[in-house]
């Protein structure tokens, strides 16, 4: 396409079916414990 380039092809909805196993790391969001952008977390189930 001429006017737009798509950076990522991973679609959120595809993660619904297999998601929710809960093995991933806890993602503290408070400022005192190095709060995490959840989007940077690794999936343990991939």
């Amino acid at each position: 396409m001429k006017h737009v380039k798509t950076m990522n092809t991973a679609m959120l909805k595809n993660t619904v079916a297999k998601g929710g196993c809960g093995e991933c790391q806890t993602s503290c969001q408070s400022a005192c414990k190095t709060s995490c952008t959840v989007a940077n977390q690794a999936c343990e189930n991939r």
């Binding site: 380039k5 619904v16 093995e23 806890t26 400022a31």
Partner: protein, 456 residues
């Protein structure tokens, strides 16, 4: 729902519900949000003085193509997942162990009341620590990976107990087919070679605390006797970071109203040789002189943008000056599932804090607020009502988050901050949200610039 922003010469269009992120040219950027609601005819009329008809039609064809692929204007299909999130089997998989409610520093912004957490100075015993390990194993269901963070106060003030707990957990994990990952958070005052060696052998991650430039660090982070801590901790931290090959650690700092030019502190840490850096806004009461105020937000935005541009340049050059800023890390191609993104940090459910006495709280930030005491490591969770309340604390339960484009990146923010500022864990802390959104934009900008470079 889309979100668009322009930063550092790049136009980004983010499609909230598909997760797709696009880099747009000027015309696409101009019309993408209008086209969500308007017809072709309306777009042609609205932009006829700025672009030719052919250009506009060509761009709208591309928008239609993205829409058909569900990579633009994708519908919200996630609201029902809330029921799944809330109905999950309650398991505990992470504990924050308050090894010492005591500290050898007197940081001015300490939420832990200089280590005492509104109680009295106390140290966790091995008995309590081991009971905590038993508790998490017993309550972890089928989860294999369990996390334990040694926290304080200052955990090195009770380090023998840390060692006892690690030894015990290693014995138990074999019996129960679990895998413990330990983290320790320290101010570094008591760090020595022996402790460093132990940490490197046993801790999956280590968080070391420091605020940047000497004058900033020493103003906010004095030792118990009042002297600055910079000269004591910096050489120890440099050595520790090197001994871990500059990975699996974070040097974390706090910025306050006194150093709104915090990008200088981040770069100071980078110039000291640290590669894994995390610096965050203080979360302090409105009545303090160091708390971030609404009027500070524009300056903080500028600082984040400045830092992101600098980081992009350093990534590009690579080598000695390059570093990793934790809050600009984002994985756009993988990352966690939607369920994780909606469920948030897990405080009060998957993640609990344990006081030196063995009391359980929803997280370390709630410790000392006795209304939130949930039970003990010996007797288990007695206040299921508190757990239920936290298990219902997810993105779709928060009215503010339901309107926010960043919901799948931040997962609803910190419940404790929400409680401190709005007295309700479902009411996010607004300044925190604004800064989080800015950090996400900065993180995406860096990726977008790198993407453009790679496309060239």
């Amino acid at each position: 729902m889309i979100h668009k922003f322009s930063m550092n010469g790049v136009n980004v269009v983010l499609d909230v519900f598909s997760g797709a992120i696009h880099v747009a040219d000027a015309i696409m950027y101009d019309i993408v949000d209008v086209y969500e609601e308007a017809s072709r005819k309306e777009i042609l009329e609205k932009f006829e003085n700025k672009y030719t008809k052919d250009e506009l039609n060509e761009t709208m064809d591309e928008l239609d193509e993205l829409k058909n692929k569900e990579m633009l204007y994708a519908p919200d299909i996630y609201e029902n997942i809330q029921d799944f999130v809330e109905a999950r089997e309650p398991v505990v998989k992470a504990l924050c162990l308050h090894i010492a409610h005591d500290c050898n520093m007197r940081c001015k912004y300490c939420f832990a009341d200089e280590g005492e957490y509104h109680g009295h100075r106390s140290l966790m015993s091995s008995k309590v620590g081991k009971a905590a390990i038993d508790f998490v194993i017993k309550n972890s269901g089928k989860r294999k990976n369990l996390e334990v963070d040694f926290f304080g106060g200052e955990p090195l003030m009770n380090f023998d107990v840390v060692k006892d707990i690690v030894k015990y957990a290693r014995e138990q994990e074999k019996k129960y087919d679990k895998n413990f990952r330990f983290t320790i958070t320290t101010n570094g005052i008591l760090l020595n070679d022996e402790i460093q060696d132990y940490i490197n052998k046993n801790m999956h991650n280590v968080v070391i605390s420091m605020d940047g430039r000497k004058e900033i660090n020493d103003m906010m982070r004095p030792k118990a006797g009042g002297q600055g801590s910079y000269n004591t901790i910096v050489p120890k931290f440099q050595k520790l970071a090197e001994s871990r090959h500059q990975t699996d650690y974070y040097i974390r700092g706090t910025f306050t109203r006194h150093n709104l030019d915090f990008s200088k502190d981040v770069l100071h840490m980078a110039d000291l040789g640290f590669k894994q850096i995390s610096v965050e806004p203080v979360v302090g009461g409105v009545d303090t002189d160091y708390a971030i105020r609404e009027e500070d937000v524009p300056q903080i935005y500028d600082e984040y943008e400045k830092l992101a541009s600098e980081l992009y340049e350093r990534h590009k050059k690579g080598g000695k000056q390059d570093f990793n800023f934790f809050h600009f890390n984002i994985d756009l191609t993988g990352g966690p599932c939607v369920i994780k993104r909606l469920a948030g940090c897990g405080s009060g459910t998957e993640y609990l804090a344990v006081t030196p006495e063995g009391d359980l709280y929803p997280c370390h930030q709630f410790v000392g607020l006795t209304d939130f005491k949930m039970g003990t490591v010996f007797d288990g969770i007695e206040r299921e009502d508190i757990r239920d309340k936290f298990s219902k604390c997810n993105v779709y339960a928060k009215p503010e988050c339901k309107k926010c484009w960043a919901r799948f990146y931040c997962s609803g923010g910190c419940a404790a901050n929400a409680y401190q500022f709005g007295k309700d864990i479902l009411n996010p802390y607004e300044i925190g949200c604004k800064l989080q959104r800015k950090r996400i934009e900065c993180a995406i900008m860096i990726k977008a610039k790198e993407f453009q470079e790679a496309e060239k």
